[in-house]
């Protein structure tokens, strides 16, 4: 099987188990969105997948090869891009350097393509990343992650704090990345942005998957029921 597979994953901080028995898979070219209220373990799940946190059980496969247990930078170099939720930029370095440091291999064709999606970033190349506004920083993170991931991209609330008028840019960028065969895993609160993109959805609650399936006309209601609770 290709793409990203997560099997019965459990993880947490110290002795506290935050995520229990989560399984999911993202095929190449597929977009899967994870929804859930604050603090249900979405970010923890992603950190577990990325090797930041040790897994208490289960495993993660990339194109059929296990990657769980490997160190984060090894996972990233295997082709998995990750955009963390917090301000994950190097604010003291320029935008250009931020992109350059993340470049995997010499080829930056994809970066060019992504910069076309976010022309504002191209204008700010020589500026220190810390001087970008919050939304621009998110754009930079999107460019960096989507351009350098060769197999899987994992985006944690990439449009949090982004003004509604700009959501389209982000959707466009994600679609584009997906179309070149990336498996994309989104964690979102923003239904309006994520639902139109996603092929499959997952709803988490208390560290477990409580609802999952392909996105259909009735998905919105299904999801909202869990979010409102």
């Amino acid at each position: 099987m290709t793409g990203l597979e997560v099997e019965h994953l459990g993880t947490g901080y110290g002795t506290t188990q935050v995520v229990t028995d989560v399984s999911l898979s993202v095929e190449p070219g597929q977009i899967v969105a994870i929804f859930g209220r604050n603090g249900v373990g979405k970010t923890t799940l992603l950190r577990g997948i990325m090797g930041y946190l040790p897994l208490s059980c289960g495993r993660v496969l990339l194109d059929g090869e296990p990657i769980s247990g490997k160190r984060t930078h090894v996972i990233v170099r295997a082709g998995v891009g990750y955009a963390a939720q917090e301000r994950s930029i190097f604010s003291d370095l320029t935008v250009e350097t931020n992109l350059k440091l993340a470049r995997q291999g010499g080829d930056n064709r994809e970066e060019e393509a992504m910069l076309n999606c976010f022309p504002r970033i191209r204008e700010r190349m020589t500026q220190k990343a810390g001087t970008l506004s919050g939304g621009e920083q998110k754009m930079l993170i999107a460019v960096r992650t989507l351009a350098n991931a060769s197999r899987v991209a994992i985006l944690d609330e990439i449009v949090e704090g982004v003004q509604p008028g700009l959501l389209g840019m982000f959707q466009e960028a994600v679609r584009r990345a997906s179309s070149r065969g990336l498996s994309i895993l989104l964690v979102e609160q923003h239904l309006n942005y994520a639902l139109p993109l996603a092929h499959d959805f997952i709803v988490m609650s208390s560290g477990r998957v409580v609802e999952a399936g392909p996105v259909t006309g009735s998905s919105r209601e299904q999801i909202e029921r869990h979010l409102v609770l």
């Binding site: 990325m50 930078h73 190097f90 350097t97 440091l101 995997q104």
Partner: protein, 275 residues
């Protein structure tokens, strides 16, 4: 006059040599290595021991590699736990320096001597000047150039800065953080080892010799600031001050003058940096 100028250059060169490793570690990693003087002392000891086995120059190489490897080990055991606790790194490395000094002191109370590979003075514009001093000046110039090349033409420095400012994020974009840490620190110690070995023929080798280099190296480093290149002007300022005051007044006045100049320069630099 020639000699006075050359002596000042030499003073600057010694500061550059003793600060180079510190600047790498502090500038790139924001770690103040107060065991730096002891790393230099170990370098001198390696050169001293190597004298019986190999030519002087090979001994320098061995000192550099040996102390560099030791630096990597120390980074693993000690420094790695202290990143971003800048004040604690001062304390921990100071304790480490004390430990190294005492360990060496338990075996060797000191006062060994190592001869320079070439000792005879050469004639420059009619005055005799130590050939080995000239070599040290030249070496410092080469070192400075090499640092400039690294800073300007490679992304090494930026990678390290990225790693220090946010290691989790650096991992997340595929940087092998552990290795960057270890190599930067190891490089700092390697430079210290080479400097210690190179300066060994100029001094008396003893467990306590490191302290003599640390004060000058430390001040130069703090003034040099975050870039590797700052070391040039910083060493020039302090070494020049020392040279001038040693000539017009005496050595004690010179050392006090250097401290005062360092404090003033530090204040100016700090208020300019705006943070």
């Amino acid at each position: 006059m020639t000699i006075t100028i050359l002596n000042s250059f030499f003073g600057v060169a010694v500061l550059i040599l003793s600060a180079a490793g510190l600047v790498v570690v502090f500038g790139l990693m924001k770690v103040v290595n107060f065991a730096h003087g002891e790393a230099m002392m170990l370098g001198a000891y390696v050169a001293l021991i190597a004298r019986d086995w190999m030519p002087f120059w090979l001994g320098i190489v061995v000192a550099g590699i040996g102390i560099g490897v030791l630096g990597v080990v120390i980074e693993r055991l000690l420094i790695r736990r202290l990143y971003r606790r800048i004040l604690d790194t001062i304390l921990a490395t100071w304790g480490l320096g004390l430990l190294i000094r005492e360990l060496i002191g338990a075996f060797d109370p000191g006062y060994s001597s190592l001869d320079a590979p070439f000792d005879a003075p050469v004639s420059i514009l009619g005055s005799d000047f130590s050939a080995y001093r000239l070599f040290i000046i030249a070496f410092a110039a080469v070192l400075l150039t090499a640092m400039w090349v690294i800073e300007r033409f490679t992304s090494l420095g930026k990678t390290v800065r990225a790693v220090i400012s946010d290691p989790d994020l650096a991992r997340g974009i595929g940087i092998n953080v552990d290795r960057v840490y270890a190599l930067s620190f190891g490089t700092g110690w390697l430079l210290a080892g080479v400097a210690g070995a190179l300066l060994a023929p100029m001094v008396t080798i003893a467990p306590t010799m490191g302290g003599n280099f640390l004060v000058g190296g430390f001040l130069t480093t703090i003034l040099a600031g975050p870039t590797l290149l700052g070391i040039g002007p910083a060493a020039g300022l302090l070494g020049g001050t020392g040279g001038i005051f040693a000539t017009i007044a005496d050595a004690t006045t010179a050392s006090i003058a250097v401290l005062v100049v360092a404090m003033i320069a530090m204040k100016i630099k700090d208020s300019r940096s705006g943070r």
